[in-house]
């Protein structure tokens, strides 16, 4: 994890210093000055997070996910993107109406490929995620606090639109998966299991591209 963040930072610095010229595509569009494939960018993104699977859906339902994302160009249309997300939602179980709250903070890094059609920059990418998960259950009859972290994966497609100069808007969809191992308990009435957490996000972002 720590290595991924450091690599992302180094790539960003390298990209800022290396790309000082204008590519051919940019010359066809005088309104925006672009690097050969893309530029370093930062974005704030909001998305709807939808769990896959009855249990998570029944308890928590959909929620809003917040994200800070950045990307640096790698050349030939590829870029490296990284993100940190935050999702928190309270829910209730169907049977006993037990209240429970989930907090998810995943870190993401991965490559993606971007193509340009005028002002539109569609992209497709994949990445590794590292999840920090915390569940608080408001019941004395179950495991009350569960904290887990585990690696996962994500795939994403989206399209940026160059609004004005460096300003972009971004529409995206991604799907992620992570496996958490079962916690331990000494409670006699509780059976623990692992959790395969799958969710997809559909959202919009706004960002600045250097």
């Amino acid at each position: 994890m720590r290595i991924s963040v450091v690599a992302l930072a180094l790539l960003a610095v390298a990209r800022l210093s290396a790309f000082s010229y204008t590519n051919e595509a940019d010359e066809k569009c005088p309104c925006v000055e672009r690097g050969p494939f893309s530029s370093f960018s930062v974005e704030g993104r909001m998305s709807g997070l939808f769990f896959v699977g009855d249990l998570m859906n029944d308890i928590y339902g959909a929620g809003v996910n917040g994200e800070i994302m950045g990307s640096v160009p790698l050349g030939w249309g590829f870029e490296l993107w990284g993100a940190v997300d935050y999702f928190a939602k309270k829910g209730h179980t169907d049977i006993d109406n037990t209240a429970t709250r989930i907090t998810l903070v995943p870190l993401t890094i991965g490559p993606r490929y971007t193509y340009q059609f005028g002002h539109f920059l569609p992209y497709i990418g994949a990445g590794l995620k590292y999840y920090f998960l915390h569940i608080h259950n408001y019941s004395s009859y179950v495991i009350k606090e569960i904290s887990k972290n585990a690696p996962g994966v994500v795939g994403e497609v989206g399209c940026k639109y160059l609004i004005w100069d460096h300003l972009i808007v971004d529409g995206f969809f991604n799907y992620s998966y992570v496996h958490f191992s079962a916690p331990h308990t000494s409670l006699g009435n509780v059976v623990t299991t692992h959790l395969n957490l799958q969710c997809w996000n559909l959202g919009l972002g706004i960002g600045y591209e250097y």
């Binding site: 049977i95 006993d96 037990t98 509780v190």
Partner: protein, 527 residues
């Protein structure tokens, strides 16, 4: 067991409570005085009170059933402009079924009508006396075997109609000697009937009797119980399940006295004067007999001067006990009713004049209980039970009349009367057993449930039940494997403290506000 321990053990067995609950209005305000109010009770604690009254245009026969701590009320017969009155004491048996009888005027002819109560509703009234005018009739008697009998006098003859559990026979002539009236019948659970009546044998009224056996369908020949040169009337009799009987009546020469005779199932003993004799008056005897052959007789005693009082005497082990005055002598008493159960507990009720400041000549309802050895004390402090509500002086104008009492073998008693508040009439009742345990909840059901959360599945046992039918049940106790684990108000319990793969036995019992607990209903939950 030595002779000192026996009374102690007996007294511990006794359950008759002198603590009666506040009275309950059974009918609401009535515009006219009820003609009769009667109470009955069975061994399950079901009580039935009936009354009749008219509002000037319609006749009403009303009832209230008390079971599981709740009184339910209604009409036995749809209000009718046709004369319907003189309702009998309800005969309530162990099954919760009952008969009542009354007099109905049909096209100018007075007939006896009966209605059957199946525990929920009353049957269409049925005429059992035939098309002739009746003179007097006895309340219907009904036993735990489902047999019933009504007797009456008609044209001076004595008739009976019997119910074999499914239908009523036509009128059967018991005697056609004329000049007979005032029949009283008693029916035991073996189908034996003891019938007494009064026959005018010039120049005196004499007491006669006959017996009937449901098994053989044979009436005995009528025979005289009294022959003395005096008038005899207000005769009553009781027959127990051992086929022992007692008859009491008034005997009058210049004044009235109360006389009794014991029946051993085939012959009568000698008549015994059980009240004071002249110059005082003892009248209107009421009688009760239990299956042990213990009898209690109460009556109104009128001294040569001063107030009347209620007197009582117990018959036990072959002899009559001491005569006792069980009411205070500060005010006059009248209208007695008495009951005794198989434990030897007795209760007597009467109405008594009272005066509160400017209000005088009203009547209150009183009772005294007999615990097997003594009545509630009236001296030096009167500890008898008074049903008169506590009201501010100078505002009370209430009078209580027609008190009737019934008691079962558990000591559960019900007293009914009607109250006149100066404007309206109210049929009321009080019981001494509202603190009896509530009925248990209905069906208990449930099972092991799973509460699924991320990473874990919580297992718990959930049980639910139909609420107790007792309106005074305030909650439920839940026992798990015999150990009290919770007391709840709603009919749901969730047991989170279980261990997987283990079976548990749950028991649910209803409780009342005093913590009295019903029997429990159980459920086993296995994984």
């Amino acid at each position: 067991m030595n002779r000192f321990l026996i009374p102690l053990v007996i007294s511990l067995m006794l359950r008759l409570s002198a603590d009666f609950l506040p009275s309950v209005d059974l009918t609401g305000a009535l515009s006219s005085s009820p003609e009769s109010v009667y109470a009955s009770i069975n061994g399950s604690g079901q009580s039935l009170v009936v009354a009749d009254y008219t509002d000037g245009s319609d006749y009403y026969l009303v009832y209230s059933l008390y079971q599981s701590g709740t009184w339910t009320s209604g009409n036995i017969l749809a209000p009718s402009t046709q004369y319907n009155a003189g309702i009998s004491s309800p005969a309530l048996n162990a099954s919760g079924n009952a008969f009542v009888s009354w007099v109905q005027q049909n096209a100018g002819v007075f007939q006896i009508v009966v209605s059957f109560f199946n525990g929920t509703s009353w049957s269409t009234p049925q005429v059992v006396s035939g098309a002739q005018d009746i003179d007097t009739f006895a309340p219907v008697a009904y036993n735990d075997a489902g047999q019933a009998i009504v007797t009456w006098a008609q044209g001076g003859d004595v008739y009976a109609s019997v119910y074999n559990g499914s239908s009523w026979s036509g009128p059967v002539t018991v005697t056609s000697t004329s000049n007979n009236y005032s029949t009283v019948s008693s029916l035991n659970n073996n189908g034996n009937v003891l019938l007494i009546w009064v026959q005018y044998v010039s120049p005196y009224d004499q007491v006669y009797y006959a017996t009937y056996d449901f098994q053989t369908d044979i009436w005995s020949s009528p025979a005289a119980l009294t022959t003395s040169m005096e008038n005899h009337y207000n005769a009553t009799a009781a027959l127990n399940n051992s086929n022992q009987g007692v008859a009491v009546w008034q005997e009058s020469s210049s004044n009235n006295s109360v006389v009794a005779s014991i029946y051993n199932g085939s012959t009568w003993g000698t008549t015994t004067l059980i009240s004071s004799n002249m110059p005082t008056t003892s009248q209107f005897p009421a009688l009760a007999l239990n299956d042990s052959g213990e009898a209690v007789v109460v009556w109104q005693f009128v001294p040569s001067s001063g107030n009347s009082s209620t007197q009582a005497i117990i018959y036990n082990s072959g002899s009559w006990g001491a005569l006792e005055t069980i009411s205070d002598s500060n005010n006059s008493t009248n209208a007695t009713s008495v009951a005794i159960n198989n434990l030897g507990n007795a209760i007597a009720v009467w109405n008594q004049d009272y005066t509160i400041n400017t209000h005088s000549a009203n009547h209150s309802a009183h009772a005294s209980t007999y615990n097997g050895s003594s009545w509630l004390s009236v001296s030096p402090t009167d500890t008898t039970i008074v049903f008169t509500p506590e009201v501010a002086p100078n505002t009370v104008n209430d009078s209580y009349y027609s008190s009737s009492v019934a008691m079962n073998n558990s000591g559960d008693a019900v007293v009914a009367w009607y109250l006149y508040d100066g404007t309206n009439y109210y049929v009321q009742a009080s019981t001494n057993y509202a603190t009896t345990t509530p009925l248990p909840p209905g069906r208990v059901f449930g099972g092991q449930e799973r509460n699924k959360l991320p990473f874990q599945t919580q297992h718990f046992n959930q049980i639910q039940w139909s609420p107790s039918p007792s309106s005074f049940a305030v909650g439920y106790r839940i026992y798990r494997d015999g150990v009290l684990v919770a007391t709840v108000q709603s009919p749901l319990y969730i047991d989170n403290s279980i261990v997987l793969n283990q079976s548990y036995v749950y028991e649910v019992a209803s409780i009342d506000a005093s913590g009295n607990q019903s029997s429990s209903v159980s459920l086993t939950i296995s994984p």
